[in-house]
Amino acid sequence: MLEVQNLSMRFGGLLAVDQVSVDVREHEIVSIIGPNGAGKTTVFNCISGFYKPTGGKILFQGQEIQGKPDYKISRLGMVRTFQHVRLFSKMTVVENLLVAQHRHLNTNLFAGLLKTPDYREREKKSLERARYWLDRVGLLEMANWEAGNLAYGQQRRLEIARCMVTEPQLLMLDEPAAGLNPAETKELDQLIVSLKEDYNVSVLLIEHDMSLVMGISDRINVINQGRPLASGTPEEIRQNDDVIKAYLGEA
């Protein structure tokens, strides 16, 4: 589904990402791990189109997407969350989910003004979808709160719901467990697995929480200082000497 081949990203003299390859197949959870500053988020930014990679290829469903504008990439069915939650914090929770389903934005200015039946139908459908996902992540009670007033864990869940209402094929989560307490992390764990199992979404995950990564990943890629260090199943990674060295330092 997603194939990243020899991706490189250079900022001036700094080679932030060097020849990294990642691939995600249908119905799979793949993680990228690595020490702080290893270049994980840069890889994400290249894939989602925020950066234009300086080298390498990115294929989504067989189509080359490197260098395409971010909004076009996300319309292909690949959406992401952010390391620091990025909600539309002055808008209500439900509005956050409605905004995400704006695919009928440009064509329907007049249909919306005149409230045509077609427009009403779409509006109703997006409301239903929003309601469904709010229920799914347990935020239905807070539907009309301003998103900025939610607790941190709830904001994290809302961000994921906001991605899910766009009905993506691939969900990219950038450190979704950061700042969550153990109970919330466990909930998140179940949510991510359910996204894969029940909604057939593939997940690409950046995470520091090892228990989460090891528990749910089908495969793991390790990056260190911008270079690929290892890749394999959680079991293989756990026993890889290079990985242990990179994380714990050499003895």
Binding site: F50, S74, L87, F88, K90, V94, H102, N144
Partner: protein, 423 residues
């Protein structure tokens, strides 16, 4: 703390003296060809000194004084009430709109001609402020050159009528569409800009339009402006004493009533009213549509908006274009009301006033913006007695307003959406 306050207060008092003494105290007197400088009179010196003392005392006890001010809103019994429920608020808003529209409808028949004229001006400002509210309040794009689109609308009508004899009704959509086109074109260079940078570019754009109008004398008449802009007609009926254009009839003869100059004023007022209501309703609808939510999403977090597949280009351009469209509307009405326009009417101060209306009213809030437009247009008129001090009073009112209610008269409230229970 006290020492710091004392130092600060002394400094402020000192500044007061060195600023006000030369301005108020020294006079240049022309004597024949030469100019002599005359020193201050004793009374002025005393006044300057008293002012310095007042500033000194205020700054010294500033914290205490502001503390007292801060407690004042608590005297307001309404300040402590709980949030109003959605239905009640919508009902109140509806009642407010209906009441104000009813009042607006009977207004011209109960007051003097001058008051109707002023009311027309208020309506024009309401249109402008509602339009700018889209750009600044909703999309969060600080536009300091908004008056340019207003000028485009006004000049479109003036030029079309002068060169092609086009009537008000035809010029109205053309003016608005042309202004929208200008908004669209301006949108492109500023796509990547935000905040301060955007403000400066739009400011420059506003000035370019004004200077262009001022200097393109062959077309626009430059600073002399364009006169003789026709009044709107009602189904081919003119409101003048005599019919100017062949084929038209005059309003007072058709209905067999005596000629009165007031008919025209009232008619223009009613047109402005209808257009203002149209503006209000259309933008209100936009706000509840995907495009309106996209504007706000872009204001809240551009990166997140893009990551969800929103095109920055489309969203920003739509905000600029729609904002400019309504400015063009207002401009056409303004040209028709004045009968004469010149670049003088489209200076930066106008942009600033429209922006002030939006900020005072509460960004994004339509009711607030309408109230603020009424207040800002009428206050300087009421303060006419104070002649040259009226702008001072106006400024002071704004400062106080921002101290007490930085969120505006009536801050925007989110629309609550009822989610149906799943059956």
């Amino acid at each position: 703390m006290a020492a710091h306050n004392l130092k600060h207060a002394l400094f402020c008092a000192f500044i007061t003296v060195i600023i006000s003494y030369p301005i108020l105290g020294l006079n240049l007197i022309a004597q024949g060809t030469s100019v002599t400088l005359e020193g201050a009179t004793t009374a002025t010196v005393v006044n300057v000194f008293l002012a310095a003392v007042a500033v000194f005392l205020f700054q010294l006890f500033r914290d205490n004084i502001m503390g007292v001010f801060g407690r004042v809103p608590n005297l307001n019994p309404l300040a402590k009430r709980g949030p109003v429920s959605q239905e009640k608020r919508l009902l109140m808003e509806r009642v407010f709109f209906v009441a104000i529209i009813l009042l607006a409808l009977v207004w011209p028949f109960i007051v003097s001609r001058g008051a109707v004229d002023l009311a027309t001006l208020v309506l024009i400002y309401i249109m402008l402020a509602l339009g700018l509210n889209v750009v600044v309040g909703l999309a969060g794009l600080l536009d300091l050159g908004y008056v340019a689109f207003y000028a485009v609308g006004a000049y479109t009508f003036a030029l079309l009528s002068q060169y092609f004899g086009i009537s008000f009704w035809l010029a109205l959509p053309i003016g608005a569409l042309l202004a929208a086109l200008f908004g669209f074109v301006l949108g492109f260079p500023v796509l990547r800009l935000r905040g301060d940078y955007l403000a400066i570019v739009t400011l420059g754009f506003g000035e370019i339009i004004r200077i262009l109008l001022n200097n393109w004398t062959t077309l626009t008449g430059g600073p002399n402006g364009i006169g003789g802009i026709p009044d709107p007609t009602l189904f081919g009926m003119e409101f003048g004493r005599r019919v100017k254009e062949e084929g038209n009839v005059s309003f007072h003869e058709t209905f067999g009533i005596a000629y009165s100059g007031e008919h025209k004023v009232i008619f223009l007022y009613l047109i402005a009213l209808v257009l203002a209501i149209f503006t209000l309703l259309v933008i209100r609808r936009f706000m509840r549509m995907p495009v309106g939510r996209a504007w706000e999403a872009l204001r809240e977090d551009e990166i997140a908006a893009r990551s969800l597949g929103m095109s920055r280009t489309a969203v920003k351009l739509s905000a600029f274009t729609i904002g400019a469209f309504f400015a063009g509307f207002a401009g056409t009405v303004f040209a028709s009301k004045q009968g004469f326009i010149s670049p003088e009417s489209f200076v930066f101060l106008e942009s600033a006033i429209i922006l002030a209306i939006v900020v005072l009213g509460g960004m994004g809030s339509q009711v607030g913006v309408i109230l603020a437009a009424i207040a800002v247009t009428i206050l300087p008129e009421l303060a006419r007695e104070f002649s040259e001090y009226r702008m001072l009073i106006f400024g002071a009112a704004m400062v106080l307003m921002m101290v007490w209610r930085p969120q505006g008269l009536l801050p925007m409230r989110r629309i609550q959406i009822e989610l149906k229970e799943q059956g």
